[in-house]
Symmetry: C3
Subunit: 257 residues, 3 copies
């Protein structure tokens, strides 16, 4: 089983070309799309997508991710073996959030031309290098057959939550299609309180800390822990992002006491 | 075979998480998307989508639908067995239009924790309860194994067409991506006439009642029965919805004589 | 294996109905979407999509394409056998660009009612005629079983590049989701020069002729040969179409000396 996560969108033929390349090498591969609607070149958003979805796939799954602003430069391609499966993509940090949470066992460079598309283009490594690599891995090729072992992979530089004098200083990691606003704050550092004081860029609010969207009346803003494990600001049956005029990267603060 | 219909969109990782959950339980499941672009929380639109597509799938197909404004409240989850297959989703009416047209045999509640995801979240029953249920049904688990039988399912409350003194009073059920405007009026109650008088919110028209889009000249508005069996207003190679400024829910009337 | 290319979009249930129709006839078919986001009725864009993606699929693949402004008129449906596989769709030229590049062996009309959906609708030949044809072909039915041989298929009328006194006069064939602007000019007629003079509708430019996007500094416009084999104008990590206000069909010129 191979999952695909890209910033290619679904209008262009690029995703199909990758699937064709995979199925030419490995006609029995089962292909599952995670998303192709990562914002162009947005490594953070791609990381979040893959890290959210990967835990729900069976052991042995190969995850292919391509968000690759550096295509055609010297950046490396890599295959990562973890305790639960494999990750294939550019060495720009985009797959490390998901891979690290599964426990990384080894990382190899994709440099063996025999495991690439014969006429490798300079502009579409997704189809010519990464898709074939995923197809071979899913068919049983060993990661070490792709090239040298890598000990210095590029790590993602996402913001870290700071806790200063009873205040958690975080930021907006992602806004989903429902308008739910997801912070880079994990459940375990949240205060154990039925009401949360939160500071947004344009307003400060005291909100109910709920277990589910259904605890709020229609249109009421609440705080809860989403299914992905991060704290989110939600509006029951409405868009919290729109109501409070929020965007990814905005700074927020939560009062711990 | 399992079909999926949701209002999750294709940008977020939620659909992929559901597919991962299904394939973890049932690695051989064949998954077919009906649509993930149901308008958020629009039970009527979800109903129409599923009811349009379900008749074309093989006998024995399991249809999973999640349009679920009540997630996290006391609303039940259900599995419905029909003469042709199975339906899994929230008990809010969204699956009943499609299920009823296949002939319902029995309905059971989804309450057996052994047939759910072990750490059920409060916010994502699609992944934690409904997707596993569909995976088990497709693998052969019996509906009665999920919980108690239900005799009072929630039924959808869609508007009924009224016929008063030679006038069919209906409304707009759906507007498709081509701009074709679909009414809640079935072919069998339509007058048998080559010309139809129709009253839209802003204008009254006399239009040809055609068998196919090709009978109209480019840009000409016509009335015909769509492939889904409902009467629609169409513009050959154009958007009827845009031309006449129409939206879902608008009242319309057709003169029967 | 069957690929699908349509202008149906992913919001409506139409693509799912086609897949259901295929799987009812041929439950083991592997279905791969090329794209369903061809602009409505845009035969040129559909042609480009299919011709770009088809070369990457395995030998024996059946390609189903439906961009069909003439549905319900007298236009024929066809199945084309090539040296590498099969193409099914309307006889309006949309599949010929891809089929011709594989080498056409024979073309047959789709007129055998036993190989169609029993209640063929007048408005949805995609589901009722073309999808069943693809399902039967993938299952081993011979093209000649569908109807009479056709010797006069409709050919696409795309603009031809004119070369006059050292100038290549072409036009914009496609703009992809990254904003890369693809011309109807193939690599082999391009000047062998590190710098290209190009005339756009609103401006003339001298640009680097690169091998990869990575050779440009961020935001720098360049010319290169895309992975599809056509010349394109690109902006490293930006939209060239937006920067130069370009749209499909715009005339462009490249100075050859």
């Amino acid at each position: 089983m191979i999952t695909l996560t890209t910033d290619f969108g679904l209008r262009d033929p690029y995703v199909a070309e990758m699937k064709g390349a995979i199925l030419t090498i490995n006609p029995k591969a089962m292909l599952i799309d995670i998303t192709h609607n990562v914002e162009k070149f947005n490594i953070r958003m791609g990381s979040f997508m893959l890290a959210s979805a990967a835990p729900y796939f069976p052991k042995g799954t190969t995850h292919l991710i391509i968000v690759d602003p550096g295509v055609g430069t010297e950046r490396r391609g890599i295959v990562v073996q973890t305790k639960r499966g494999f990750f294939v993509g550019p060495d720009n940090g985009v797959l490390m959030l998901a891979a690290q949470s599964q426990g990384i066992e080894s990382i190899y460079e994709l440099s063996n031309p025999n495991l690439m598309f014969p006429q490798t283009s300079n502009t579409f490594h997704g189809r010519d290098i990464f898709a074939p690599a995923a197809a071979y891995i899913d068919r049983g090729t060993q990661p070490r057959d792709f090239g040298s072992e890598i000990k210095d992979p590029v790590l993602p530089h996402f913001s870290v939550v700071e806790q200063i004098r009873g205040v958690l200083n975080g930021e907006i990691l992602y806004i989903d299609d429902f308008g739910n606003v997801i912070f880079n704050i994990k459940e375990k550092i949240m205060p154990n309180s039925p009401v949360i004081s939160i500071k947004l860029p344009q307003v400060s609010l005291k909100l109910k800390f709920c277990k589910t969207y259904g605890e709020a009346t229609t249109g009421e803003p609440i705080v809860l822990v989403g299914s992905h494990g991060f704290v989110e600001l939600a509006l029951n049956q409405g868009s919290a992002a729109e109501k409070f005029n929020l965007k990814v990267g905005d700074k927020i603060a939560i009062m711990v006491d």
